[in-house]
């Protein structure tokens, strides 16, 4: 698995993908946090990082599918999938290698934003007047969210040999699972079920974790979605044998 992870991650670094993703992410987040008056911390007057944690999921919604779209789609198109699947590794090792490479890149994009935490921390009056627990919780939530998006992205990549299709499917699925369930729940026909439906979405659990309260139910939710998506990918890879 490590061999695959290393190869995939080197692939990101050698093609421009890694640099573009990280740059776009940091520039966009930076603009939202410090420049645009709508959402700027400086204009807002409170030392918190809500802007980062509100915007990052939306950026991930587009950037993670861009990272993952080639993982399997390209291997299928080039025929190299046949090489990989005749090597002594299991399908699961292959999927996880690719999955963690994509997740690692997303986390690398997230890493420099810790600098923003330091800035906000220093800007507080008195210095250090920040809800650190909420920030830690939000970061954990963001890592889980990236984890789910990567799993969806890898799955979307496995169902097609066309990267564009993989990208569009991944963005759509990520959107549905991020806020789509909330929107569906808001249709006034579900009665008491609407609460249950909104619980299927990420945003419900993401917001819960963001408050700084790490509930095992939320963690379990994220891990289950990742597991389901990984198993779905495995099923798709196996389908060549039917």
């Amino acid at each position: 698995m490590l061999a695959i992870l290393k190869k995939e991650f080197n692939g990101f670094l050698n093609s421009l993908i890694a640099y573009i993703v990280i740059t776009v992410f940091l520039v966009a987040i930076g603009m939202f946090m410090w420049v645009f008056p709508e959402s700027s911390v400086l204009e807002y007057g409170f030392a918190d990082m809500q802007t980062l944690f509100n915007m990052a999921p939306w950026l991930f919604l587009f950037l993670i599918p861009a990272i993952t779209m080639r993982t399997f789609a390209e291997e299928k198109r080039e025929g190299t999938i046949e090489l990989l699947l005749t090597k002594p590794i299991t399908d699961l090792q292959l999927i996880l290698g690719k999955y963690f490479a994509a997740l690692l890149l997303a986390l690398f994009a997230l890493l420099p934003t810790l600098l923003y935490y330091y800035s906000v921390y220093e800007l507080g009056n008195p210095s250090g007047n920040v809800d650190s627990a909420a920030v830690v919780g939000s970061y954990i939530g963001l890592v889980f969210l990236a984890g789910v998006f990567c799993a969806i992205g890898v799955f979307a990549s496995s169902i097609s040999d066309n990267q564009i299709i993989s990208f569009v499917v991944a963005v759509f699925l990520c959107y549905i699972i991020y806020t789509g369930f909330d929107l569906i729940a808001s249709i006034p026909v579900w009665g008491s079920y609407s609460y249950f439906i909104s619980q299927l979405g990420i945003s419900y659990h993401y917001n819960a974790v963001s408050k700084g309260l790490i509930d095992s139910r939320d963690v379990l939710y994220f891990l289950s979605v990742i597991a389901i998506m990984t198993l779905a990918t495995k099923l798709v890879l196996r389908s060549r044998k039917w």
Binding site: K7, N14, T80, E82, K87
Partner: protein, 303 residues
Amino acid sequence: MSVEVKNLTKIYGAQHAVNDISFTVGQGQILGFLGPNGAGKSTTMKIATCYLPPTSGTVLVSGHDVVEDPIAVRRNVGYLPEHNPLYLDMYVHEYLQFVASVYGLKGKVARARVQEMVELCGLTLEQGKKIGALSKGYRQRVGLAQALVHDPQVLILDEPTTGLDPNQIVEIRSLIKRVGQNKTVIFSTHIMQEVTAICDRVVIINRGKLVADSDVASLQAGGRDEKVTLVEFEQPVEEEALQGIPGVLRVSIAQGHTYRITSRRDADVRSNVFRIAAERNWPLVGLRQEENSLEKIFQELTK
């Protein structure tokens, strides 16, 4: 036995891609795997490398079953797929290093093996280049190096010489021959000379069925007891005179003044033809024996 194909059947929908094939290949043998396009060669190879599962029957590679123990099979097999897929944006050295690590080779051992393969496959000058920048012949060498890096007992090559120029074909062939000395090699091809050049044995399949399984020499003898000699004169001659040579069965005109003399396999008519020509003062301009060529045998078997 290194590779043992037992009653292998693969069905796609209603089509029998491979239909009840059995053959074995021993250690150190080079097996030519022949058949027209769509005969089921690639399918058989994909099953033997655990890429596809068989519908029924099985393949044993070094004693491991492809269905029961695919990981052990994959560890023992080096595989060069048809069309030789490669990561074009990787460097040759980087790619071989990656393949070595997938096979679980680490550190010094991996580096030594990669270096050995680079030298063996003649990639020393190209190892720092991107695979995408290599010519087809060199890519084929990278594909072979990749299949050999973990020193497998069995080498499965799917049309390793297609699309190469004649010089490259000769190089790849000699490479296969060199590395195949103590391995089991199965390779598929359309080119008949290739089989005579490097194979010990031939298996021919047609429409999923096995039609021949023998060594090259006895296939060439082909069960026939006739051979053909072509004789060319400068002017028309009497066929009856040629007919009178001992051992001759038939004489016919091949084209112009060239005569096709069919004789028994054990009789050599050439010296007699020469004597008759000299006696009657017929200027003889050509005299050759027609080999019972593999192409012909192939065409007959796969009609």
